[in-house]
Amino acid sequence: METLVMPAINFAAIMPETILSIVAMVLLLLNVFVPGEQKAYLAYLSFIGIVVAFFSVVSGWNAPLALQEGFNGSVLQDNFSLFFKAIFLVSAGLAVLISDHYMAKEECNHGELYPLILFATAGMMLMASGTDLMTIFLGLEVLSVSLYVLAGFNRSDIKSNEAGLKYFLLGAFSTGFLLYGMALTYGATGTTKIAKIAAAAAMDGALANNPMFVVGMLLMAVGFSFKIAAAPFHMWTPDVYEGAPTPMTAFMSAGPKAAGFAAFIRVLVVAMPTLKADWSDLLWILAVLTMTVGNIIALSQNNIKRMLAYSSIAHAGYALVGFTAGNGEGTAGILFYMLSYAFMNIGAFAIIILVGKKGEPNNNVEDYAGFGVKHPVLAMVLALFLFSLAGMPPTAGFVGKFYLFSAALKSGYVWLVVIGVLNSAASVYYYLRVMVYMYMKDPVEEFDWMKLSPAVLLSITISVVGVIVPGVVPSIILQLAQKAILL
């Protein structure tokens, strides 16, 4: 009789997840036992929890393999996942900071918001460090379920309800694809461990032609494409982004998208290098479609949240360009870009939140008329974020795009890059449109309802630094990203 061997648990490999989960549960209890309508303390506490988790991420950098691996090889906290974890923490931290102001304004300040954000973040982290298809799936579900609730968090707002329901239905649907793909992969290789799938494929050359394996890869790609909102699987994005509470939109556009990329990259690059010829063609098509669809529809949007939703589709397309490249620079580019995108997009949303008031979200471009006159500093900051999204130097957005596109050029994808830059040029139009209203139209409103809470100010400051510093001196973060690649 075999003796029961306990798997090596190694909590060091899931330290950030553990910290976030414990903080989240404590906050849930606090929310029940501390009465009162003011929930700001929860925001600050979760921010502290995020900062602590961030330190644990930093301390895990370059750790020896023994400390990275855990749970019998289901989790691997390598530099790749640590970099992604840092991105998740940045987006969660910024989202938490801008939430209290918005939720208090919308009078739906329920304390569960913050634990849900933390749980979602823990789920994303599992997705990034999962080396077993099951772990990735578990992480994805923890993330998704939290996000469904967060999208529909504003119970009294019908659009938020719609967003929650829509996200739930389509998300469940896409999860089906993903699971089916995982099942087929298991059927073809007999394992769900990513390293073992790769080993099986390397051993058995015929596996690359096995329909079960190829279709498994395709279905998983469809599932992940839903998560990163790549066209043609992007349909849920605009409605969900528009309806969800704005801080949650900001969060969803940055963190979960990066998590989707993390799992997508690990599965394709590590588990299925033998199918590279197939998936790089697939990614090429996805990248072109995603960029083009996102940008063209964004051109005609009047609602700034919808505009940013479509623009976030386009940005996923740029990241896919780097993914298509299939080299180390491409992955490093995605890492850098996702981090920059978290700063610039959440930063932009922070200001959008400030412009809105109770009952009047002021989300149309016309509502920004004269904003530059009334609030020159905030308008300048929004312009900075928009220029960064448009990819103008000297911002992080430019460096990220430069890196993604040069990775693709290095692999010889000239036409893909040309399509990419033309898309980028088209995108300039809708970002400029906001600036046209801010600076070149006469003010209609006084914007006197805007007040800057310390938390929002902190998040904007962090975002500004995160956009400018990597734009002017990108070396440090780029080098870190280069050390975090899987290849």
Partner: protein, 522 residues
């Protein structure tokens, strides 16, 4: 060598210090804001003068600074700046025009003065940076950074269709420059030089097919900026809608970015493609000259007329540069400076009357010379300089261009282009006649005041330059010549080197000492 260390950086970033100071100023104290911007631009100008005195007349890049900047993955970018005879005068032109531009806005811009001055100074940083960059990545950064302040200058302080003009300007330029970025990265990997140093790229021999594509991408970006026919349509809009200082800077300096880009990057980097595309570029240049002149003739708006004259003038510059001989390129470079001075002056003049009458339609004027004699004199001198009357700067440049182009393969293009000289006299003088002479019958014009002391102060340095460069252009050309020689040489040596490389590839045993140095830098 007693060159001041980091002089170029000091010049380039002095305006940035001005920007930071401006941000802390009270936005309602307009005269302080204007004064500060004026002082900053003047300091920048004075600081740039040692460049002229310290410049050694040779082909080397001088005042070079090089600091490692970005090192990540396969990339190495440096903060690498320096000037040669080609960029020297463009830097000086920039620092010289800026105080004039600031002074010209003294009363023209009353709203958001602080933001306006910030934009002007940021623009100066971008322009100077682009002229001095010897690292292609750095050049691209400055090239793009220039766009943003200009976009705001047109879009916020412009005329009725300012938004249309600003967005058009931005998108046009952006499309070109993004394709250039693709070409830039492609060139980087192709060359395998390990960094973005322009001097390293000069030594790389590329196959003609690659050159063709890369040249097209670079040329598109630069041709949009020049602008060359048929990519010029953004220019009249941008010029007409921009405030006076914006037009002056746009005409005097920003357009030079395009021609400078050809001389500095597109032509020496891709010599075979340059040769291949010379007929096309020359054709477009000649069409630009004739077409813009004809269109200028029928304009009713003085500013639009001057804008089209810009297109024609830049057509001459392109023709001269692509003649690829000493006279042609020198003429082109000189004409760039001349155009900066005289068209800048023309836009200032248009600004003067617009400030007084708030119209620029030719039909609204007539007989102004009786009412405004000083203005008439100034206007006449500038007009003649723009036409290229001997004795003024315009003549020297145009003459050298036509001479050089006639001596080159572009002889027949030159014959046609020469008619553009006549046409320019027609539209400029006809406009001058309708505005300045005839009956002073419009009552609104009978009360016009002549130029005041500030306006005269703006124009005097320009007029002095018009005559100095017209009568004694030698110092300008002398300093340029070695750099121009090198630029022409670069193309020829490189072609020869490539041929040499091909021979040992066919007969390896015949040439055991293969791999000759690709290029001997002088």
């Amino acid at each position: 060598m007693n060159q001041m260390p980091a002089l170029l950086s000091i010049i380039t970033f002095t305006p940035l210090i001005g920007v930071i100071l401006l941000l802390f100023m009270n936005k309602n104290n307009h005269s302080v804001l204007r004064g500060l911007a004026m002082v900053v631009t003047l300091i920048t100008f004075l600081a740039s003068l040692p460049l002229v005195t310290g410049f050694q007349t040779n082909a080397e890049f001088q005042f070079v600074e090089m600091v490692p900047w970005i090192a990540a993955g396969p990339f190495q970018m440096n903060y690498h700046v320096g000037i040669d005879g080609i960029s020297l005068w463009l830097v000086i032109l920039t620092t010289f025009i800026m105080p004039i531009a600031v002074l010209s806005t003294w009363t023209a811009v009353e709203e958001k003065v602080k933001e306006y001055m910030v934009c002007l100074l940021l623009l100066e940083v971008g322009m100077l940076g682009a002229f001095i960059s010897l690292d292609l990545f750095l050049f691209y950064i400055f090239w793009e950074v220039m766009l943003i302040p200009m976009y705001f200058i047109i879009g916020i302080w412009g005329g009725k269709r300012k938004i249309y003009a600003a967005v058009k300007f931005f998108i046009y330029t952006m499309v070109g420059s993004l394709l250039m970025l693709v070409a830039l990265i492609f060139l980087y990997f192709k060359a395998g030089a390990g960094d973005f140093n322009l001097l390293h790229f000069y030594q790389v021999a590329l196959d003609p097919a690659t050159q063709t594509w890369l040249f097209l991408a670079f040329a598109l970006a630069f041709a949009i900026k020049v602008p060359m026919f048929p990519l010029h349509t953004w220019l009249p809009d941008a010029h007409t809608e921009a405030p006076t200082a914006g037009s002056v800077i746009l005409a005097a300096i920003l357009l030079k970015m395009g021609t400078y880009g050809f001389v500095r990057f597109a032509m020496p980097l891709f010599p075979d493609a340059t040769e291949q595309f010379t007929p096309l570029i020359a054709t477009l240049a000649v069409i630009g000259i004739i077409y813009a002149a004809l269109v200028a003739m029928v304009q009713e708006d003085v500013k639009k007329l001057v804008a089209y004259s810009s297109v024609a003038h830049l057509g001459f510059v392109m023709l001269g540069v692509f003649a690829l001989n000493q006279q042609g390129v020198a003429g082109g470079m000189l004409q760039m400076l001349n155009h900066g001075v005289s068209t800048g002056a023309l836009f200032l003049i248009v600004g003067f009357i617009y400030e007084r009458r708030h119209t620029r339609l030719i039909t609204d004027f007539g007989g102004l010379s009786k009412q405004m004699p000083i203005f008439a004199t100034v206007f006449m001198i500038v007009t003649l300089s723009s036409i290229g009357l001997p004795g003024t700067n315009g003549f020297v440049g145009e003459f050298l261009i036509l001479l050089g182009a006639f001596e080159s393969k572009l002889r027949w293009y030159t014959v046609i282009a020469t008619s553009g000289v006549i046409l320019s006299a027609v539209y400029m003088l006809w406009m001058f006649q309708r505005v300045m002479f005839g009956e002073l019958n419009n009552p609104k014009n009978q009360t016009l005041k002549d130029l005041n002391a500030r306006e005269i102060a703006i124009m005097v340095p320009l007029i002095i330059l018009i005559f100095v460069m017209g009568v004694y252009p030698t110092p300008f050309i002398d300093k340029m010549n070695p750099a121009i020689d090198r630029m022409i040489q670069l193309s020829k040596t490189k072609q020869a080197a490539r041929l040499q490389q091909q021979v040992p590839a066919v007969l390896p045993q015949a040439a055991p000492l293969a791999a000759p140095p690709v290029l001997e830098m002088k």
